[in-house]
Amino acid sequence: MQDVAKRSDDVSAVPEPVRPVTVNDDAVRAALAQHLSRISGSRTEITSFGRKSSGFSWITYAFVARSSEGDRKLILRVGPPNGLFAPYSVLPQVYALQSLAGSGVPVPALVSSERDGAEIGFPFFICTHVEGDVPAPWTASELDPDHKRAIARQFVEILASLHRIDAGTTPFASPQQGGQRAEVRAIAGWRASLARPTARYYPLLDWGGRWLEDNCPQPPCRTIVHGDYRIGNFIERSGWIVAILDWELTHLGDPHEDLAWAMMPTFNARSRKLYGVLERTEVIDLYQRTSGIAVSDKSLAFYEAYALYQAAAIQMCAVRAFEVDRFNDMRLAVMASQMPSIVRAFERALEAAA
């Protein structure tokens, strides 16, 4: 059953919190106990608290909330001040978890969220823990191909379900800015990110970003776009996908964007097949049949180029975090070495899309 989500981000009367520079796990744990005690109205103790992954962006903690009502396994996600996409907003994830509860798209249930981080010091949200495994694209080869096929087909069907949702009835439809098309606004956002001062300037990215903005196709319909829909961003259990994760880049846009991103060889152990098993034509046929949205070759080619542009922009965020913001994580530093191959692939993809 879904928990009732409690929004506690209306802090208009609360003074601006003093933000710590780095995320201290002990301080987060203490503040989390206070927060849960306050919103539940009963003393809550935090046990089995620990970082669940070492991602590049949001920090994920798993914990058990112990109160007079019993134990609940929950997940806390915190947007650190020096993460890859800082400064963070909880809104895309909160909107997604709220809008999709009870839909054909499985998501963890939202428990609480705070956009200004008054209590913990950083924007955060809490959701239910979903049991299961998160498959990594590169370990896919170790799995049974029939199992992978079943998961890949579900993965496409869930994407179709997401794109069938009437986005106009969700909070994603409300924040329109300046009348610019949503999908063009997303491209402009990455262009602005790439235009920030960094160690390297790539002529092809500057030129290609302008091309993408000038040539962005009209979408067949405007849907909720996950923004990072790929193998590795879901939980599976006993042959079923039980939760789609990581909604931080979710926005309104062209459904081709998710389809192109999901089929990037990078997320499929360098294979052109989805999860290494589902042929491209099979993916498109299944998606069209289940979503009712006709896939355009031209739009798909455009979004394949855009996927590489976005990948390059994300790598540059990493390089910037290391070189300019001096975030000491060597994984960010080595991402810079991927830039030449991504930029070359982007140029080839643009040629195909033009």
Partner: protein
């Protein structure tokens, strides 16, 4: 010394000191790490990027500027620098890297110009030809970088796995 080279060395040292040393309970392993930190501090004082690939990139950029200048004869275009930009006796990698980065920005301005409406209005075919030339040249420049890029270790880096296998535990 190049800023990015120095930052890379500092980052490696910090990662070892902050993440590896506190999580190592083995005296021998800590000794290895401190030795590596010492060696890195030595590299910081004595080493820098290899100048060869940077020089190759700057020369390729110069060839591209010359070709654009020749093709765009008579068209108003963004400024092309005087060449050669690297004196024959220059070996300071940081200075060559700065020239390469400046060259990239200039090539970017030329590419945006050649693919823009103004250049096309003057001579569409010529502008398209220059755009193609610039795209090819910047891709060739990336090939030089690729030649000095080690094989990807994405799965080990992202997942902390050994030899591409599943992480223990």
């Amino acid at each position: 010394m190049s800023t990015s080279f120095e930052r890379l060395i500092d980052g490696i040292i910090d990662a070892l000191q902050i993440h590896v040393v506190p999580n190592s309970n083995d005296d021998f392993v800590r000794g290895q790490v401190y030795s590596a930190i010492y060696a890195l501090n030595g590299l910081k004082l004595a080493a820098d990027w290899k100048a060869g690939p940077l020089l190759e990139q700057v020369r390729l950029q110069d060839d591209t500027f010359a070709a654009v200048e020749r093709l765009a004869d008579g068209m108003a275009h963004p400024e092309i620098p005087a060449m050669p930009r690297v004196p024959s006796d220059m070996s300071d990698a940081a200075a060559i890297e700065a020239l390469r980065d400046d060259g990239d920005r200039r090539l970017g301005r030329l590419l945006l110009w050649a693919s823009g409406a103004d250049a096309r209005a003057v001579n569409r075919d010529l502008a398209t030809g220059i755009e193609q030339l610039l795209r090819r040249a910047t891709c060739d420049q990336l090939k030089i970088e690729l030649a000095t890029t080690p094989k990807s270790m994405l799965q080990q880096i992202a997942g902390g796995e050994r030899d591409g296998g599943t992480a223990p535990g």
